[in-house]
Symmetry: C2
Subunit: 345 residues, 2 copies
Amino acid sequence: MAIRTTENGSGRAGGGGRVTLRTIAQMTGLSLSTVSLSLRGGTTLKQETRDKVAEAAKALGYVPDRAGVRLRTGKTNVIALVLDGAEDSIDFARQMIQGIGHAIKGTRYHLTVIPEFERNISPDTVRYVLDNRTADGVIITHTAPRDRRVQMMIDADFPFVSHGRTEFFTPHPFHDFHSEVFASTAVERLASKGCKRAMLVVGDDTTTNHHNIVTAFHRATARTGLEPRIMTGMQYLPPTEMRRMAMELASEPDRPDGIICDSEMRTIALTGGLMEGGLRMGQDVHLIYKQTSGILPTLFPAVDSIREDVFAAGVELTNLLLRRIEGAEPETLQTLAEPQPQWRN
Amino acid sequence: MAIRTTENGSGRAGGGGRVTLRTIAQMTGLSLSTVSLSLRGGTTLKQETRDKVAEAAKALGYVPDRAGVRLRTGKTNVIALVLDGAEDSIDFARQMIQGIGHAIKGTRYHLTVIPEFERNISPDTVRYVLDNRTADGVIITHTAPRDRRVQMMIDADFPFVSHGRTEFFTPHPFHDFHSEVFASTAVERLASKGCKRAMLVVGDDTTTNHHNIVTAFHRATARTGLEPRIMTGMQYLPPTEMRRMAMELASEPDRPDGIICDSEMRTIALTGGLMEGGLRMGQDVHLIYKQTSGILPTLFPAVDSIREDVFAAGVELTNLLLRRIEGAEPETLQTLAEPQPQWRN
DNA sequence: TACTACAATGAAATCGTTTCAGATATTCCA
DNA sequence: TGGAATATCTGAAACGATTTCATTGTAGTA
C-alpha cells in the first residue's frame, strides 16, 4: 500500500488520469492553444469550435490545474485570512471563516488561514505573504489606528481588506462594525432605564475600534447626562482577574448602575463577578454587551445586547476583497455594519 | 496606482525582483541544475560548490516558488482542514487552527481551511480535494463510525488524519479524545459526591464519540451502582429549547442529581435552565462537563470539568498527518488524549 | 600513451497554462 | 485573377522547479 507521494518512481506529478488541456485537445482534435483560448472565451473562435470545447470540457470534468495557472499568470486564486488569537469575541474565528467560505463558494478561490500568535500584532506574516506572493489578497482583523500591516500593504499596493478602520490618509478597503452607533445606542438605552452612572468596559486599547467607541461613549454620556467611567487596556488581564475586579466593583459606594461591554469574554467575567458580589443583573445594575455568539443569550436570556453579525462580516469582507482584486477603487470598498440591538427586557 | 494583477501588461507572473534558481545560478556562475541539486542536498557535489550555493541562497533570501515545485513534483505543501460547523465545543475552531498553525510553523506547509456547512457531513469537499490534488493531506474532525470521508480517503490511499475514531477495519491515522475515560472518570466523581441518579447529555449522536461515551457511561454506572439516564440526539435542537427542557427537568420528581455533559454549548443551556428551575449547582445537582474553552470556568469557577486540550489536539493531528505524508504506516499514527480532570470543589 | 573509472557539472525534458506571433484558409474587391 | 483583408486556428515560448542523461575533466592503471 504505497502512499501517494511515492506512488510514482519518477517523482513526477499527477496520475495518468488527470484531465488537462491536452486531454481536451486530443479529444476534440484541436490544438492546446485553441482549447485554452476557447475556454477563456476567445471571441475570435468559431462558435462551433467553442461549443465543441465546452462540451468536451464538461464531459471530462475539466478543472484548470492551479499550479499551472499560478505559475503562468501569477494568480494564486487564494485569499489569506490573518487570524488574530484574541478570544474576546467568542466564536469569532468560526463565524468569520464560515462567512468567508460562504462568499467564495462557487468561485475559484481557496482560503488559507494564517494564525497570529503574538497578541501584539506583528507585520511578519503579512510580509511573508507579500514577499512570496502566496495569495491574491489578504483579510486582516483587529486593526489598529496605524496598523503596520495596513501600511505595508498600502505601500506594496497589495489587495487587502481590514475588519476595522485605520487613521491612514490613503484610503483602503475596510468593513467595520459601527462602534460609534453601538456606544451611543447603548448609552441611550441605559439612560432610558434610569441609569445615572455608566461604565464602559473595552478590553483592548490597541485597536481603532477602541478609540471610536470611547469617543462615542463620551459624547453620548455628555448628551444624556450620565456620569461616564471607563475601564480599559486590559488585553493582558486574565478573565479570573477581571472577575475579581468586578466583584470588588460591586461593593464600591458609587458603583456604576449601567455597564457597556464590547467583549463577550469580559462580559462573562464581569457578570460572574458582579453576581458573586451580590448584585442582581437587570435590577441593581444594567448591562449591555456586544454580542457575536449565541452563548450569552442562552445563558442570560434577559440581558440586553447589541449584535454584530460576524458571519455577515466575513461575507462582506470577502466580497470587498474580491472586488479589490478585480481592480475596484479602494474608496468604493468601505462599508460599515449597523449594530443590531437585541432588547430583551 | 495600478493594482498588482494588472501591473504587468503581459499578464505574466512575478515582478523583476523575484529571486529564483536562475538568480542564484547567475550569481554563482553555476548552472540551474547544479543549484537545484545543491539546495536539495545533492551529495555528489563538491563541498565548495554547495557552500557557495547555500550562501548565495541565503544572501538573496531565496524561497522556492510554490507553483513551480507543485507543478513539477505534484507536491502542494498544503494541508487542508475540513472545518465542521458545529458549535458544541466553544472556541474549537480557533484553538484547532492555532494548534495546526503552531505545528506547521517552520515547515513549508500552509494551511487551507474548508468550511463545512451542512450539519450532516457530506463527502463533497473531501472529494474535491482528492480530485483536484489540492492538498497533500487532510485533517477532518467530528468523525462518524462509518464516515464516508474516511472511506473515500482510504480507498484513494490519500494521506489524512481524523480527530475521532471510526469503525473501519483498515487502520488509519487518528487522534482522539479518550471519551471512555472521560465518561468513567466523570461517573466516578459523581458517585464520590454521593449522587444516585446520573444523566448523560450528549448532543450529537452521529459521531463515533457518541457511541464510545454512551458505552463507557453504561459500564461505569453499572459498576458504581448509579441509576443511568441518557439524553441524546439533539444536534438540531436549538439552545433555547435545550434550556427549556432543563428547566422542566428541574422539577421532575426523580430528576437526576448528577449530570455529565460533553458539550459546552449544551452545558450552558443546561445550567441556565436548571438554575432558572430553582436548582443550586453543586448542591441540588452536580455537573461535570467536557471543557474545551476558558469560558465556562470563568463563569462557573466552582463547577467540575474535564478538559480536552484542543490546541494540543491540533498540534498532534498535524504531526501525525505530516508523518503520514512522509510515508509512515497508519498503524503507528494513532493516539488518544487523556482527559484532564479539573475538580474545583 | 591509451583506456577506464569516477566526480562534477550542464543541457534538456517535463509539469499545465497562457499568450503572442504566425500560419492557413476563406472571402472580398478591383 | 491576383492581391489584400479577414476569419480561424496553431506553434512556440515562457513561468520556476526537478530529474534524467550526457558531457567534461581528472586521476588512476596497465
